[in-house]
């Protein structure tokens, strides 16, 4: 079995990644896929900012600007931020709870491929007659009458990638409930695992409304149904409700893992346990719960009436309480700590004030009467970019530095990392801080240009310069990654020297079965406890060395998803669709695609795959190859 650890050819490596069910490799795939879409969506943002640099600019056309803003929002949320967070969840959660893999490795792989093919399908729209152009919210009356296939791409692409997200969410729930190592009680789970757990429950409850809404929109556009057509007895507001019932939890789906990542980074570099651990857990759950009670605050100006607006306004303001708890807990973790300002810590320290700024403008918008003034202005754009970039993107970039050695056994360059942070951070504030004032001066969002001499010219220009700085920051990070990949030295385990949780106790490179023996957890921050007790192994073991049960690789998830991908093209050109250019091959392609998907499902159901056992001799052989000496765990 030693072939498993030997160098492979290029083709074999590709095949390995296509068929892999290993959570660490899937994490790398998520990282690559998420980065691809992050770069695409960032480029779209840059084009928009160049267009808005000067009044009455003609860099892009109005129609293309609508496509850019739609694709920027949709891609950043569904195809960049979520997959990048899934990359960290996949990599870290099983290691943090002492598991050998997620509960359903096959589904993990299926979730990734669904996300990737959904995203690719959505982006093919640029080359196949125009991207979706009704905003990432795709409000129904507008999207129903959008000519061409853009909205169809949106509906089908999100349906496919949404299924992947739902699958991954359920997978993490089952993993965290069932696969914790002995001693890892719920209240000993690291906070990133906790936020992943709450996030996954939000996915579980939040994505079905989106699926339902997309199906209704699909029927409206492709089969002439009238769910959202008020002329035919439908109701266009139902789309807004369904979308935001999903959409508001969605923003917590994104921010909670980022909170979790910072809750790992801050104690590590303050070299202190997280202040108020149980209140952090409570706050996370409360934010998740309240996240479902507030969706109508996106719809204050729809005309729900003062009672509904008041209820949702109060519920929204209530969320500030648990969020404030978290902020104070982070501050008190840093307070009195022996602080090391590394790159990840720098991101964490930058995150706290930036995110609070975004939160405070959120409270302003929660005040329904004020929201009538702020609605659909650049103030909103500034607010959600402060939350998303100041919270999630800083979280992702900081954790990229923090967890890079866990992913690839290499350290990213610290000096370059700090430069990256400052360039990105200054660029971020430069871009979005002035947009608050643009909004207050009356500049509406989602406009492709504006008239000169309204007092908007200078601020828009500065904002665009900020966007260039952010781009420079991301490019610096990419350079850092390339340098590290080419020249990096193996980092070994616990490269930050202050790792607290189990993932840092595992020897590097991490064997594909993670733990040769399941660890025994004695408390919060198990690795820290063992270090304090002078345990050189870094963990205690709950079982003797024995055979390890591992899942088999499988190409079926890839094929299953490929079928849906093909079927999507059939559905897109269906004869009944809004866009009047159906193809003769549409129905056959739809049938063939679905046949491939259901065929592979049947194959998976009928074929028994029990995985295999890795014997003790094989484990020892693998570890000798990895670490050079027999037996030892380092």
């Amino acid at each position: 079995m030693s072939s498993r650890t030997q160098k492979k050819g290029f083709g074999a490596t590709i095949w390995d990644y296509l068929t892999t069910v290993d959570h660490k490799k899937i994490a790398v795939l998520y990282l690559l896929g998420g980065t691809l879409f992050f770069v695409i969506a960032g480029f779209e943002a840059l084009l928009m900012r160049i267009q808005l640099m000067y009044p009455e600019n003609t860099f892009v056309s109005a129609g293309f600007f609508n496509e850019l803003l739609t694709m920027h929002g949709t891609t950043m949320l569904f195809l960049a931020a979520m997959p990048l967070l899934f990359a960290f969840m996949n990599m870290i959660v099983p290691l943090q709870i002492g598991a050998r893999d997620v509960a359903f490795p096959f589904l993990n792989s299926l979730g990734f491929w669904l996300f990737l093919f959904g995203g690719l399908f959505l982006h093919l729209s640029f080359f196949m007659g125009g991207a979706p152009d009704a905003g990432w919210t795709s409000y129904a009356s507008l999207s129903l009458y959008s000519p061409g296939h853009g909205i169809d791409f949106y509906v089908l692409g999100l349906q496919v990638s949404g299924a992947g997200t739902l699958i991954s969410g359920i997978n993490f729930l089952v993993t965290i409930i069932n696969m914790r190592a002995p001693g890892m009680t719920f209240m000993r789970m690291p906070l990133f695992t906790w936020t992943t757990f709450v996030t996954s429950s939000l996915i579980l409850f939040g994505f079905p409304p989106l699926t339902a809404a997309l199906i209704l929109l699909l029927f409206d556009r492709m089969f002439g149904a009238q769910f959202f057509n008020h002329l035919m007895g439908g109701n266009t507001i139902i789309w807004e409700h369904l979308f935001w019932i999903f959409g508001h939890p969605e923003v917590y789906i994104l921010i909670l893992p980022a909170f979790g990542l910072f809750s790992e980074i801050i104690p590590t570099f303050s070299r202190k346990r997280l202040f108020g651990y149980s209140s952090m857990v409570f706050a996370t759950i409360l934010i998740g719960f309240l996240g479902f009670m507030v969706w109508a605050h996106h719809m204050f100006t729809v005309g729900l009436g003062p009672t509904a607006n008041a209820i949702f306004a109060v519920a929204t303001m209530a969320i500030a309480v648990p969020t404030g708890m978290k902020v104070f807990n982070w501050l008190l973790t840093v307070w009195g700590g022996s602080i090391k300002v590394t790159t990840p810590m720098l991101y964490a320290l930058g995150f706290i004030p930036s995110f609070v700024a975004g939160g405070v403008t959120g409270i302003m918008q929660a005040t329904a009467p004020l929201d009538y003034q702020l609605h659909d202005s650049y103030f909103i754009v500034a607010h959600f970019h402060y939350v998303i970039v100041g919270g999630i993107v800083l979280g992702i970039l900081g954790s990229t530095h923090f967890y890079w050695p866990l992913f690839f056994n290499r350290m990213l360059n610290e000096t370059l990392g700090k430069i990256t942070f400052w360039v990105f951070f200054i660029g971020f504030h430069m871009t979005f801080f002035l947009q608050h004032f643009l909004g207050l001066m009356g500049m509406p969002r989602r406009v492709f240009t504006y008239m000169p001499n309204q007092g908007w010219d200078t601020f828009n220009f500065i904002s665009t310069i900020g966007a260039f700085l952010m781009t420079a920051g991301v490019i610096l990070l990419v350079i850092n990654v390339i340098i590290t990949t080419v020249k990096g030295e193996p980092a070994g385990n616990d490269p930050w020297e202050d790792g607290r949780t189990l993932e840092w106790a595992i020897p590097q490179p991490i064997p594909f079965y993670n733990f040769r023996q399941t660890p025994l957890v004695r408390g919060l921050d198990p690795y820290w406890i063992e270090k304090q007790d002078g345990n050189k192994e870094g963990m205690l073991y709950a079982e003797p060395l024995g055979d390890i049960h591992m899942p088999n690789n499988s190409i079926v998830p890839f094929v299953m998803t490929l079928g849906l991908f093909i079927a999507s093209f059939g559905a897109l050109y269906s004869p009944l669709g809004v866009a009047d250019d159906s193809r003769v091959w549409a129905i056959p392609v739809l049938v063939i695609g679905l046949a491939i998907t259901f065929g592979s499902m049947i194959y998976r159901s009928l074929k028994d795959d029990h995985g295999y056992y890795l014997t003790v001799a094989e484990i020892e052989e693998i570890e000798e190859q990895l670490y050079g000496k027999k037996g030892g765990n380092k």
Binding site: F205, H241, F292
Partner: protein, 113 residues
């Protein structure tokens, strides 16, 4: 090995205990089933008796709610207190039901009223 099924031999005493348990379980199932049939009959009767619409609608919705809970606890095994991670399952079921109810309430009051 975790995947081997252990062979359990029961003493006569244990066998008696398990039989009694199974019997009680069966009785509960039949009782619940009877209650559910009865509730369905009430719903039908209310419609047949031609009561006011304002009585029938809430009554049927209430009965439906009770049916769902009975179904979950009796036939979907949520009553088994020692089942694996039943606390988490219960929490998720009720949270989901609560969210669904809130959305239903919002749709009824905000959109359709």
């Amino acid at each position: 090995m975790a995947h081997d099924t252990p062979v359990v031999t029961r003493s006569a005493e244990q066998q008696k205990y398990y039989r009694a348990n199974t019997k009680a379980y069966m009785q509960r199932q039949v009782t619940n089933f009877a209650i559910m049939i009865f509730l369905t009959l009430i719903a039908f009767a209310a419609v047949m008796a031609d009561f006011s619409k304002n009585l029938i609608l809430p009554l049927i919705l209430l009965l439906a709610g009770i049916q769902v809970v009975l179904q979950l606890y009796a036939f979907m095994h949520m009553e088994e207190k020692d089942a694996h991670e039943i606390g988490v399952v219960t929490m998720f079921m009720w949270t989901g039901a609560f969210f669904a109810f809130m959305m239903f309430l919002a749709f009824v009051t905000v959109i359709w009223w």
